[in-house]
Amino acid sequence: MRINPNPTDDLLAALWQTQQDQQTALQQLSSGKRVNQPSDDPAAAAIYSGNVATESRIDQYLQSVASLRALFQSADAALGSVVTALNQAITLGTEAANGDMNPDNLQQILQGVQGVQNQVLQLANTSFRGTYIFAGTATTTVPFALNGGVVTYNGNSGVNHVAIADGRTLEMNQAGDQIFQNASGDVFGSLQALITGLQNGDKTAIASATTAVGEALQRLNVQRTFYGNNLNQLNGDESALQQQNLNLKSQDNTLVGIDLAEAATNLSQAQTAHQATLSAAAQVLQPSLLDYLR
């Protein structure tokens, strides 16, 4: 049986193959990836590209969550200060309605309540990163203005939504008039009534206005829970997003990553194969019959 008398081509092909295997193993080991280009595993590469997009979205959602948290905290803090101020107004109003007050005392109380009104006005016009947070979506307009003792709302009733997960959005604000000029408890209206009552020295009016401030305070507390609830939800959403991110990363590793031990084994196997081929080549390329004929 005649066989191929010149095995050099076969040998070279075998050497190239083992060299290629070595290179592949080395690349996988150094990049930590099994899929370094789409053709290594087209399906995995396609899924991976989707995962990369999702991970990037999650990173953005996490940023949005952080940004919303800061916004909600600042709104919540502002409303907290309003609560304190209103409590002070109620104390002053109750004092004026019940005690025997001389005009000087009433004047002092009036000034106190006017101070509260200004403070609440300022708080209602709170801005965060340059935009008014209680103005609905008209965030570039100062929402509340005091003109001739009457507070007017210049914002709107718009509500913004921010996406914080795929298919999930969170309301970003409440319209300012819902908080400060709600039909079931008007902060500015009741404060104004209290001021008018104090200016007129009308104890009945002062008493009813004080009750109205109390109602407005209750209403405000109800509205305030929006921010508290949302802050809680953000915490939940944040940990869900982080968990999702972890899951995706681990899926990525299964998809395109390589087990380091396996990669190292592959490399040493490829090296062994290459050396074996080299030594086989040395055997095969030994001298021919001509060397023995003298």
């Binding site: 280009q37 396609a46 990037s56 979205r57 949005s64 965030t139 001509l290």
Partner: protein, 456 residues
């Protein structure tokens, strides 16, 4: 006759025959590394005997012919496998470059699309912020730049492929004219009843090179071989070769013409087939997916953008230049440069982010092509990767089978130095023995001459 003279003649014939065989061996050894060379073997025949009385006397040896040892069937199979292998090889080279455009997982069209929509999500947390609006425009122009970059690189590959097609056509023409010359010589020798061994080897080697360039069919006839392309366009008939021409066709690409007829579509095998398949299928396929993605994205986003109001309360204009169909990816561009013109608002007030929800929905809604933008990009990656993986597997498989066929061919036609060394000794010994006969006959003749001498 059976006389001394006859023995002398036989010895001389033997010397000549062994010398001839020796020269075959030396030619074999000389060509041990010549590609495509088939070993030659001498054929000895004994001369017809002469009857003398009751006895038949052999009349020595004759070196009848020197033949190349080859398996024509095997050579045809090698031809077929060669064209497949170089086809896959040529495709793989370019497909690797194509998939290189989609290999970067941290910065590509897919991540650009996500980054663009992320910038919108970011804007929804603070719709009046000009820096955030500018970030949206920047992300959109990054996306446009990546579309352009990818398209430009595909264009560059197409230009390169066209050059390769022209080069291949030139190579084919050079080879066919050489083959035609050899064909004529082989035909002449064959008509004289001679083995055209070496010339045939040379021709086969050239045909093999031709098969690397395109699929060829070889039909052996009395007048020499006829070589045609896969679809039957004649390249060589006997001693005549027919040139192919490369020329720019209406679509701007290089097409191949035979006698004025466009045969581009029928050139499937070999390198030229590989170049054409990447140029006319793989790249246009990828380009179409990019166009669908770019056009669909621009159209859907513009529609959503029209539904909103910009920072100044004006109705949303086109965000991207309105593009669809072929060339969409090439012409993908922003239509606005003013960050205030982003229509984020749904009610006309600057602080509203209501329309961003609609803009973001473009990311998850299906494009006209039936997939959402992210999936469309993933599908593109899959198509490119899958095509490359298939060609890679094809290339590996045909390399292996070509290697096996070459092994088989070498088994039949390859020069074995061991064998030649053995033959060398055989012929040398036979030569020595024949020479010895001459010496012996000479001595015997001396004896005969001495018999008649008066002094003897």
């Amino acid at each position: 006759m059976g006389g001394l003279t006859s023995s002398l003649m036989m010895a001389v014939q033997a010397l000549i025959a062994e010398q001839g065989a020796l020269s075959v061996t030396s030619n074999n050894i000389a060509n041990v590394n010549t590609p495509g060379y088939s070993r030659e073997a001498p054929t000895f025949t004994d001369n017809p005997p002469v009857q003398m009385g009751d006895l038949m006397f052999g009349q020595g040896v004759n070196l009848k012919s020197i033949d190349s040892i080859r398996d024509r069937l095997l050579e045809l199979r090698i031809l077929g496998e060669t064209q497949q292998q170089s086809n896959a090889g040529a495709q793989l080279g370019f497909l690797n470059q194509v998939q290189g455009l989609f290999s970067n997982t941290s910065q590509n069209i897919g991540t650009d699309i996500t980054a663009f929509f992320n910038s919108l999500t970011q804007l929804s947390t603070d719709p009046t912020s000009l820096p955030l609006r500018q970030a949206v425009l920047t992300a959109a122009s990054n996306l446009a730049a990546d579309f352009h970059n990818t398209v430009n690189q595909l264009d560059a590959l197409t230009v390169n492929l066209n050059q390769n097609v022209v080069q291949s056509v030139n190579d084919i023409n050079r080879l066919t004219s050489e083959i035609a010359k050899l064909n004529a010589q082989v035909g002449t020798l064959k008509s004289l009843g001679k083995d055209a061994g070496v010339l045939e080897d040379q021709r086969n080697e050239l045909v093999n090179q031709l098969a690397q360039l395109t699929e060829v069919h070889v039909i052996s006839t009395e007048q020499g071989d006829t070589i045609t392309t896969g679809n039957g366009t004649a390249l060589v008939v006997g001693g005549q070769s027919f040139e192919l021409q490369a020329g720019t066709a209406a679509d701007g690409a290089q097409h191949v013409f035979a006698l004025g007829q466009d045969i581009t579509a029928s050139l499937t095998g070999g390198r030229i087939g590989g170049f054409l398949s990447v140029r006319d299928q793989a790249i246009p396929d990828g380009m179409k997916q990019l166009d669908d993605l770019a056009g669909g994205l621009a159209t859907n986003f513009n529609t959503a953008h029209h539904g909103g109001f910009d920072l100044n309360g004006a109705a949303g204009q086109d965000f991207f230049a309105p593009i669809t169909g072929t060339g969409a990816a090439r012409n993908f561009a922003l239509a606005i440069t003013d960050p205030a013109a982003i229509a984020a608002s749904s009610d006309g007030s600057p602080g509203s982010s209501g329309n961003i929800t609609n803009l973001l929905a473009v990311q998850t809604n299906s494009l006209p092509s039936g997939k959402n933008p992210g999936d469309a990009y993933a599908a593109l990656v899959f198509t490119v990767g899958d095509r490359t993986a298939q060609v890679k597997a094809e290339s590996t498989a045909s390399s292996l089978s070509l290697q096996q066929l070459q092994d088989q061919r070498q088994g039949v036609s390859g020069v074995s130095l061991d064998e030649e060394a053995t033959n060398l000794i055989r012929y040398q010994h036979a030569f020595s023995a024949a020479a010895r006969i001459i010496t012996t006959v000479d001595e015997m003749t001396q004896t005969v001459i001495a018999m008649g001498s008066p002094t003897g």
